[in-house]
Symmetry: C2
Subunit: 246 residues, 2 copies
């Protein structure tokens, strides 16, 4: 490993004006409990000698970071801290129960569509082959938490959509109806921004920062079973995992 003292002493990063506003707001927020009202945009604009656009840029960033909440017609408030959401435990429902919360799932849409290049590659089917597309909303204590979109081969799992509409869990249907159990998976985590649709389902704003967890799961014989993307609000959730070296 190469280690060297960094010579980054050149020019210090120049600070945009909106960032001065942001630091001022962080000072204000620091001591206040969640739910406290912060000054209005027009007041901040006058107090800090700037335009409303600049104030809104600072506010918008803090909202995206989960430090503030804006309510049209009402005001801007100090936000609740982010919720820690454990990864890699057994199932969504058990995770919630383990922490004393009620989990539920709403089936938003279940149908079939033609596989795009990416879906076809992930599910090992031909391009334009029919695949199931299952969209569900995960809720904890009746608050929307994540939008999940699953893709599975329609040829391998015929009639899946109908079974799911009866209200069964996806993994139980896979096991009991098709004898398929995913045993390995590759998960990726990345940032994204909310589309109008996701924003509405999750009660946030279009463009809001999101955490996207994608899981690509495989059966014991190595065949791909499911490809699912779960969209979480980045301002509200923080993923937690426990590591051990052994």
């Amino acid at each position: 490993m190469v280690v060297a003292l960094a010579d980054r002493s050149g020019r210090e990063p120049r600070e945009p004006k909106y960032y001065v506003v942001k630091r001022h707001l962080l000072d204000i927020i620091g001591t206040l409990p969640p739910g406290t009202l912060v000054p209005t945009e027009r007041l901040l604009m006058v107090q800090l000698g700037t335009s409303r656009t600049t104030v809104r840029q600072a506010l918008g960033e803090l909202v995206g970071e989960g430090r503030l909440v804006r309510r049209q017609g009402s005001g801007t408030y100090v936000a609740e801290p982010k919720v820690h959401w454990p990864l890699r435990m057994t199932s969504f429902t058990e995770q919630a129960h383990a922490t004393g919360h009620a989990a539920s799932t709403e089936l938003i849409d279940a149908g079939r569509e033609k596989a795009t290049d990416e879906i076809a590659a992930r599910l090992d089917v031909r391009v334009d082959a029919l695949v199931h597309r299952i969209e569900r909303l995960r809720l904890v204590d009746d608050v929307p938490m994540a939008v999940e979109t699953s893709h599975l081969s329609a040829q391998r799992f015929p009639g899946l959509a109908k079974l799911l509409r009866r209200g069964d869990s996806l993994y139980r249907v896979l096991r009991e109806e098709y004898g398929v159990v995913p045993v390995t998976a590759e998960e990726t985590i990345e940032t994204a921004s909310a589309s109008p649709r996701e924003a509405e389902l999750l009660g946030t704003e279009t463009g809001a920062p999101m955490l996207v967890l994608s899981r690509h799961s495989f059966a014991a014989d190595g065949s791909p079973v499911e490809w699912v993307q779960s969209w979480y609000r980045g301002d509200r959730y923080r993923f937690v995992t426990r590591l051990t070296t052994d």
Copy 2:
């Protein structure tokens, strides 16, 4: 588990004007290879009958998602795909070598400071007790990848800063000089936005979306050893883990 058909048929989400611009840009981007120039802001403004502010909002979101790259004075270009970065393997250096890249680390700053409430709680020291603060820049093939800020108890690890300045790896110093080996850790992953400092170190813009990985590690006796936060550019990196159910 409660499952119900969702009745979210009310009003469809209304689409902001900037989102029309964004979708238009996504159409353009879709077929083009990385490095391709996209239309200028002023041209898009005229073509789409909107203001430059609105065009820039759409462009800015796509830049944050890693789909576009803007270069002042030059133009806006289709970006390279995100880099997959494996989590939870052994060490930073080995991860890079395993994929055929050269890893290096620059020591930006190493000194001592008084523990804030949060640091004190995490390191199990008194508030205002001295703690080491070590800031390093991780590079892959000489491209900055992440800014890491570590905190360790100064009382437990006397003289650590001097040892690190000699160029040793942190974990080797802990093991060989102090006989301490972290065996468990709790990791959290969340979104954030870049400060001017992080933006400059990583070559991105202030406010750009980031992925922040925090690791709180413990020795075999359960005592906290280190608390480290690693800031990655969210437009460039995507974390990957492999799961097995057994």
